[in-house]
Structure formats: C-alpha cells, structure tokens
C-alpha cells in the first residue's frame, strides 16, 4: 500500500511508527512533528528520520516554530498546504495520523 503518515508530536510512543510498513511510505511532519525535521538532540538527528520513507515538513508549521527551510534536514522536503493536498491525492492512498 501507499501510506502517508502524519507525525504531529515531538514526544510520542513510537512503537506504532516503527511498525508501519508500506510499499511506498511518506512521513509528513506537521505541528510539533516538525521538530523531528529540524532539531538535533544531544547532537543526533531524530531517529524517525532513519525509517525508509519520503519525508515532508509543513512550511507553515516550520515557521510557526521559528524555523526556516535552511534548518530542515536534507532528507526532508518542505511543502505548503497546497503541496500537501497534491501529496495526499497523488502520492498516497491511505493516511494515518499519529
């Protein structure tokens, strides 16, 4: 399946996240989830970025939290709400909000 997973928290039980598999997997960082795309904790990037997936971060939420595109990990694509609609309809069939 082609699965889009929305991550909206910085801290959450990642068991479900770790277990989700898909032939095409997208991880979309929104709200506090954008910290996974921008922060290093104790010098390390978020372990969520180790998953084999396409990563996206919502621009509005990046800027809300004080970040710009330049703060974003190179593995993550910055997208707008308009882009997000296209991602939802064109790239993934099922959506999950964690």
């Amino acid at each position: 399946m082609k699965l889009g997973v929305f991550v909206s928290h910085l801290r959450f039980n990642t068991d479900t996240y770790e277990r989700l598999k898909a032939e095409r997997l997208g991880v979309i960082f929104v709200q506090n989830g954008i910290y996974h795309a921008t922060l290093r904790e104790n010098g390390k990037t978020s372990p969520l970025l180790e998953k084999s997936a396409n990563f996206y971060a919502l621009k509005d939420d990046l800027e809300t939290h004080g970040f710009t595109d330049s703060n974003v990990d190179s593995r993550v694509k910055v997208i707008t709400y308009n882009d997000l609609v296209d991602v939802i309809f064109n790239e993934y069939e099922k959506l999950v909000w964690l």
Binding site: N13, T16, K21, A22, L95, V96
Partner: protein
Amino acid sequence: MAVKKLAFIVDKPPYKTETSRLALTHALSSQSVEIYLKDGDNVEPFLAFIGDGVLNCIKNQKALTMYGVTSLDMHIRNALLFGLNVYVCKEDIRKFGLTEDMIVMDADHPDGELKTQIISYAEIQKAMETCDHILFF
C-alpha cells in the same frame, strides 16, 4: 454494489482520553450506515488493538460503576455481538503479560458467535493493506 473496508486501529489506552471509546462507537455505527448509502452498498469495519491499545481489552473494567460511563470491555462485547471482527495484537498482549483469560474474548451473549482474534502484528498489517481507509485512534 460495493463494500468499503475501514480499519479502526486503536493504539492508546482507555479512559484518560475518549479516543478509544470513540473508536468503538464509530465502528459500531456501521450498523446503521446503510441509510446513507445506495442499496447493496455497505461499510465493513474491523477493530484492531495494538500497542497500548490492547489495554482496552482487559476484562472486568468497572467504569460504569465508578464513573457512570460504559466500559471499553462492554463496547468490545457489543462489537463482537454485532459481528465486527476484533483483532488484538499477540505480541502486545504478551508484552504486557496478559493472557487470553484476562481479555474480552467473546460477546458473553447467546447470540454472539464471533470471538476476539489474537493475531500477530504482521497479520494486522496485512489487514490494513487490504482495507480501503485506515483510521487511527
């Protein structure tokens, strides 16, 4: 004539928030969804409890006595009575040291034929792959 499968996946424990209760009540509302659909069309939900969500399945919850709200185990019994498939993740049951006799396995009703199915996460994943939409609670 079409049947759409909806996966109701519960990965949070009960009571502090209402999310798992809403998962059950939404899934159970499939009993009357036909009024909105064309003849022959229907929705087929299944419930899967994974991670901390398996804690919803523990028997003998006293929520009704304590707080006046229907307990999650009662909702799960209703789901089984109304013919909804209920899957519980085997690995997560074991992780919490739960056994089959500690969780809701049947509707506890003469008309209830379905049993809770304790299956592996891999099987739950497969069920998610074959459904039309996934709703995480």
